[in-house]
């Protein structure tokens, strides 16, 4: 079965520092890959997605992610973190599209804390 691993449960960074959140997936084929962010009391907001093509994808809020097939990874990065980035981040995968919609499998999430 497909699975998604986010090895870091909690990460603390200083404001202005760079950030990398790790995500690994386990599946034979390349799934569709997503990063979502959840702020307290909010729903899940899509940051970026990868389906095919350029392995470096740009998202909202200055985030980017790089797909590395050899490592089965899709790590999220941001060059300079802002205090408002404190939230929980979820990596998600989807095997592909069926006729009636796609089904996301989520990682356990990484809680990001930003120190001022």
């Amino acid at each position: 079965a497909q699975s998604v691993t986010q090895p870091d449960i909690h990460i603390t960074v200083s404001e202005g520092a760079s950030l990398e959140l790790r995500c690994n997936y386990s599946y034979g084929a390349t799934p569709y890959l997503f990063w979502y962010v959840q702020s307290p009391g909010q729903g899940l907001q899509l940051l970026l997605k990868y389906f095919s093509g350029d392995t470096l994808v740009q998202g909202i809020k200055g985030f980017e992610a790089e797909f590395k097939r050899s490592q089965s990874s899709f790590n999220l990065r941001k060059p300079s973190v802002h205090w408002s980035d404190a939230a929980e981040y979820f990596c998600a995968v989807d095997l592909g599209i069926t006729g009636g919609g796609n089904k996301l499998t989520f990682g356990t999430g990484t809680q990001l804390k930003v120190e001022l």
Binding site: G43, L44, F51, I97, G101, N102, K103, T108
Partner: protein, 112 residues
Amino acid sequence: EPEVTQTPSHQVTQMGQEVILRCVPISNHLYFYWYRQILGQKVEFLVSFYNNEISEKSEIFDDQFSVERPDGSNFTLKIRSTKLEDSAMYFCASSRDLYEQYFGPGTRLTVT
């Protein structure tokens, strides 16, 4: 910007009671989903719905669960007889195509 809305934000119910969680997807979307997140655990897929029928459901989505799109705007999740283990945050999502799902803020269900 259009968004998915969910009501109520928090529902408390007694074990064995029926609950209906309501969602208003984005108006031109065609695909609808429910997910849940038990406290401290992963977000889990429950069901997808397209063209007025269930497209796929997980093993969690047993006979106690049902979904309905009663009119052109609402999408509901019903739990017939709630159990303690149904306590979770329930997220509704919708998508216009098969690529990008938009999530609502969630309904926190507490079963006592």
